[in-house]
């Protein structure tokens, strides 16, 4: 209980920090946060107003109930009192790949060994949960989880349906498993290896420098050995660690950019050259120890930064687009699952309810399809037999239908839509003018100071000119830029991760500071993507169970919405009722001799009629994500322009805009993907943050400076975005913007501190008082001080917790 309280308080503190931080940069009036914020019993995030139970979203509620019912509440104790935000209620996925992979993974002893990718693992509690669920499955033999890679190896007896049961159980808790497809290559392998070697070398060189600092005479017998070893090991450190920075500096110079790697490279080369010269002329080991530590620290900074991003990128299943999608092909031997890349025109497919249409084709039977992913329209559309269905539609009908392919997935455009974008969001809007200016100023100042020092000492004492110039370059090593900044970045990303926000690109937190306009897609972003029914006229008591029996057997979104609206206290299933679902005409049934019909009565109204007379009516509206009204109000108060872009009809866009507090003139409906991108560009793309979830938002993503998405279940959009988020998403945009401002605040303060240190150290160096010993003390001390102040600045504030 204590742990839960603490976690909740931390979340409240984060929430309050956020409100303060977003406002301050824009100099808007500060307002007190609400006095009491209820925290979600699952994830600890604030619960939006209007929710009946203490959960921020339906997903958290479902997962919490599931854990309690299954006796798995220990998850919370192991996870520090809370889980991660979920979002929409987790839905079980299609597992038509199992049979194919079980055949490939069969072993002689009758068991099957499979490697699967896992999405959603983030802590020891997740590992425990998956292990516990696996242990409960009949036929489960062995499960080895690699949380760092997001990979699981399972061994089980296939005859006992172990895997489908396990997948169903874990998917209900928000995890996803799929055939292993993440690339095995570790992009950080080289950097990790260089870092490890350079740390080992730095420790050894320091140990050889220590005896001299502690008073070992220069002429002592061991001095030559220690100096020689220092020279050799520091040279190896330079050869192993240096190329990382030399390559960056050279690339920068080729593009005429003064990159941070340039002063690092110059410092390294000059420190090594002057120390090697000193060593060759018998003047001792010089700065070899400082050089080795410097290489290790700079590599550590580089690694921290890359590792944080890599972790967020590997959290999701591999986003290789269509490569792992399967379709049910009707062939001579019946229905067989095949990769959609193998489909060809003329072949026939069986589309089960919920299936993605992988290629454009004509329908053999009438059914309903959702085009939400293609054009953002939330309402499903009816298609008659013989109609052409586009690739990218989702089958929403109640029964399987047959589709004859007209054009393969490539010609249908699906593969192009699913493929990851060619351009990298890091470079598309590099916009890091701040860092360019800092680097330029830093490099110019340091080089000028070193030249001035050399000139001054050439005049005073020519023999010491090189030593002094080297001392200036060594003591001004950019620790603040090279180590403290990556650390601040890592801590900022960790804070966001706790809120269910995963940053994918390095440039986001720099670009986000320029954001003044936030554009939201409607369907799937501001809404859950599904529909909600509001009772206009409740059904008569004797028909309530009948109506619920009718809608509970239908997969149509309107039926599901009515079932959610009415089924709160449960219902008695009417087994004798025969329900008929007719595409385009709704549900029909006969009960007690009366003809019942549930169908659309008017635009957005669905009515139940008995023998032609209306007995119940529901208004069907989109289910707006909880908490977005407050989020958008806060953004607008802080001076941001908030707009809604949608491919759906204008009146629907305006209705949702009104529900979340966006002005009517800022609601833009009926936009194609290209029109959305044009709208982004017209209003100043460099100041725009776009939040969307559908493929029709992809062009707008590429146009906007920053992009975010909640569409984790469609592993295409996250690869096009700068960040993705779980949970309701309320607060995600402000959290990103606030973190960007806070990170800049911390970095600027670090630069001031580093500047003060450099003024003092350069003064000593110019005066000729800097020695290798003083340098060996000052440099790590200044680095440690900066690390400590960075960690302190980005902590959760204890006063806010109270």
């Amino acid at each position: 209980v204590q742990a839960v309280d603490q976690a909740e308080n931390e979340t409240l503190a984060d929430h309050q920090d956020l409100a303060t931080m977003v406002r301050s940069p824009l100099a808007a009036p500060r307002q007190r946060p609400p006095a009491a914020v209820i925290s979600c019993a699952h994830c600890g995030l604030p619960v939006p107003a209007g929710r009946k139970r203490p959960f921020c979203c339906a997903g958290c509620e479902a997962v919490h109930d599931c854990l309690q019912d299954a006796g798995l509440a220990r998850f919370y104790a192991l996870g520090g009192g809370r889980g991660r935000p979920i979002g929409a209620r987790p839905q079980p996925l299609a597992h038509d790949w199992i049979a194919e992979h079980e055949r490939a993974g069969a072993r002689p002893d009758g068991t099957v060994a499979l490697d699967l990718d896992v999405q959603g693992i983030h802590c020891a509690a997740c590992v425990w949960l998956l292990q516990e669920l696996w242990r409960r499955q009949p036929g489960a033999r062995f499960l080895d989880l690699n949380p760092a890679l997001g990979r699981a190896r399972l061994v089980y007896e296939p005859a006992r349906d172990t895997l489908p049961a396990f997948l169903g159980a874990v998917e209900r808790l928000g995890y996803r498993l799929a055939p292993a497809s993440k690339r095995d290559a570790d992009p950080l392998r080289g950097l990790r290896m260089r870092l490890g070697i350079c740390i080992a070398l730095a420790l050894n060189v320091m140990s050889f420098a220590l005896p001299r600092y502690l008073g070992l005479e220069a002429g002592a017998a061991l001095t030559a050995l220690f100096d020689g070893l220092s020279f050799a090991l520091a040279t190896v450190a330079l050869l192993v660690g240096g190329p990382v920075f030399f390559a960056g500096a050279l690339a920068g110079l080729r593009q005429r950019i003064l990159h941070l790697d340039l002063p690092i490279s110059l410092g390294l080369l000059l420190a090594w050259s002057s120390s090697a010269l000193g060593y060759a002329s018998g003047r001792g080991a010089g700065y070899f120890d400082t050089l080795s530590v410097f290489v290790a620290l700079m590599l550590l900074g580089r690694f921290l930064q890359q590792h944080a991003l890599q972790r967020n990128r590997t959290f999701l299943l591999a986003n290789d687009g269509a490569e792992h999608l399967r379709a049910r092909r009707i062939g001579a031997r019946g229905v067989e699952p095949v990769p959609i890349t193998q489909l060809a025109a003329g072949e026939r497919l069986l589309l089960a309810p919920g299936d993605l249409v992988p290629a454009r084709g004509t329908l053999a039977q009438a059914s309903t399809f959702s085009l939400e992913w293609i054009d953002g329209e939330s309402a499903p559309r009816d298609f008659a037999a013989g109609d052409r269905v586009p690739a990218g539609a989702f089958h929403q009908g109640n029964a399987p239908v047959e589709l004859r392919i007209e054009a393969g997935p490539a010609e249908s455009g699906l593969l192009r839509l699913l493929a990851s974008p060619a351009d990298d969001r890091e470079s598309a809007h590099a916009g890091a003018r701040f860092w360019a200016a800092v680097n330029r100023g830093y490099v110019a100042t340091v080089l000028a100071l070193a030249a001035a020092a050399a000139a001054l000492w050439l005049w005073l004492d020519a023999a010491r000119a090189l030593d002094v110039a080297t001392a200036v370059l060594v003591v001004t090593c950019p620790c603040a830029l090279g180590l403290a900044t990556p650390l601040a970045f890592d801590l900022a990303l960790a804070r966001l991760r706790r809120r269910g926000i995963y940053v994918r690109t390095l440039a986001l937190l720099e670009k986000a500071r320029a954001v003044r306009r936030v554009l939201f897609d409607k369907t799937g972003t501001l809404t859950w993507g599904g529909l909600r029914a509001v009772t206009l006229r409740a059904p008569p008591a004797e028909l309530r169970d009948v109506l619920l029996t009718m809608v509970s057997g239908s997969n149509h979104p309107v039926s599901r919405a009515i079932a959610d609206e009415l089924a709160g206290e449960g219902f008695r299933f009417v087994p004798e009722l025969r329900v008929e679902e007719i595409v385009g005409e709704g549900l029909r049934a006969t009960h007690g001799g009366a003809h019942l019909r549930l169908a659309a009565a008017a635009d957005d109204v669905c009515a139940l009629s008995r023998d032609g007379a209306t007995v119940a009516a529901f208004r069907i509206e989109e289910s707006v994500r909880d908490g977005f009204r407050g989020e958008i109000d806060a953004l607008q108060r802080d001076g941001f322009t908030v707009e809604l872009l949608s491919g759906d009809r204008q009146e629907r866009a305006e209705r949702v805009a009104a529900a979340v507090g966006i002005a009517r003139e800022h609601a833009h409906g009926g936009l194609s993907a290209e029109q959305k991108a044009a709208h982004v560009a017209a209003g100043g793309a460099e100041h725009t943050l776009m939040v969307g979830d559908g493929l029709n938002d992809a062009a707008a993503f590429e146009a906007a400076a920053c992009a975010g998405t909640p569409a984790l279940d469609r592993p295409v959009m996250p690869s096009r975005a700068d960040f993705y988020f779980t949970g309701t998403g309320a607060g995600a945009v402000r959290a990103v913007l606030a973190t960007a401002h806070r990170l800049r605040h911390v970095v600027v303060h670090n630069l001031w501190r580093a500047g003060a240190y450099n003024v003092a150290a350069v003064g000593l160096a110019l005066a000729g008082h800097m020695s290798p010993l003083l340098c060996a003390v000052l440099m790590p001390a200044s680095s440690l001080a900066l690390i400590a102040t960075t960690a302190w600045s980005l902590r959760s504030r204890p006063e806010a917790r109270r």
């Binding site: 070697i197 050894n204 061991l222």
Partner: protein, 58 residues
Amino acid sequence: MTVVPLLVLLSLFLGLCGVLLFIHCIRNRDHEHADRLALLPLEEDLASAKEESESGIG
């Protein structure tokens, strides 16, 4: 005094062995195993809970 250079070389050799092992781990992607080792107590808990339930304890 003459033993010091010997000890220094020995320690360097051990350091070198450590670095080679580290490189081996990185190449084989075993370094992530540390994460899994950190979770071993959980597996022991599970095993003991299973044994207890099988023997009727608790």
